[in-house]
């Protein structure tokens, strides 16, 4: 069980709750269970294969999971998992550039 911090843009899918308790012992399990309870969040966070989308950042206690053990990062009852969509844009990187 971990606490998941849901930022304002995703709260419509959690009934306005900013923090929800979700079972799981790794980031992967927590996100999978989160997606089961709140399918709207799951679709935004994970792709069809169940992997975290490139522009979604998952923090465990303030540390980005990719700097830890990725989706295998263990989480416990005292840990907080935060879901933060990136703020990004620009001219390049999609391969279809053009302003």
């Amino acid at each position: 069980m971990a606490t998941v911090y849901v930022p304002a843009p995703l709260r419509r899918q959690t009934g306005g709750q900013s923090r929800v308790q979700v079972p799981g012992t790794t980031v992967r399990e927590v996100l999978a269970n989160l997606g089961t309870v709140y399918p709207g969040v799951g679709a935004q966070v994970q792709d069809e294969a169940g992997h975290v989308r490139a522009y979604i950042n998952i923090f465990v206690n303030g540390n980005e999971m990719r700097t830890l053990r990725g989706e295998d990062t263990p989480v416990g009852p005292q840990d907080e998992v935060s879901i933060i969509p990136a703020m990004a844009g620009g001219l390049v990187a999609l391969g279809t550039a053009g302003r």
Partner: protein, 133 residues
């Protein structure tokens, strides 16, 4: 809903754009009901004239502070250093905050910066008024 901000806030975001030139700047506009209460200057980790990505850890910090203060993201701003103040395709593709107004500061003509706002929802762009008052 239009975005309302003070002239100080407007000057702050334009100053931020000028300070980071030739790179793009980025940041958040925190507020309530479409009115800006404070400008949160972000760090563009891309350090690029063409792209921006607000430092992810800084973003988490901003969001937590805003929660504590009862503020919402009413705007997300970035600069275009050599093009007009309209969203690029990448800006649209990466617009993950449908409730915010995306504010673009164009320094295409540096003496006459242009500031415009857009709401971007599911790939659809609609201009919003940016009202200084």
């Amino acid at each position: 809903m239009a975005l309302r901000l003070s002239s100080d806030h407007l000057q702050d975001v334009v100053a931020h754009a000028r300070e980071t030139f030739p790179h793009e700047c980025c940041g958040l506009l925190a507020g309530r009901d479409g009115r800006v209460v404070r400008v949160c200057r972000g760090r563009n980790v891309d350090e690029s004239p063409y792209t921006y990505r607000l430092d992810d850890r800084q973003l988490l910090q901003f969001l937590r502070e805003m929660d504590q203060d009862g503020l919402d993201i009413v705007g997300i701003y970035h600069s275009h250093t050599a093009s007009e103040a309209t969203p690029s395709r990448t800006d649209v593709a990466r617009a993950f905050y449908p409730e915010a107004v995306y504010v673009i500061i164009s320094l295409q003509h540096p003496e006459h910066p242009v500031v415009r706002g857009f709401r971007i929802v599911d790939g659809t762009v609609a201009e919003e008024d940016v009202i200084v008052q």
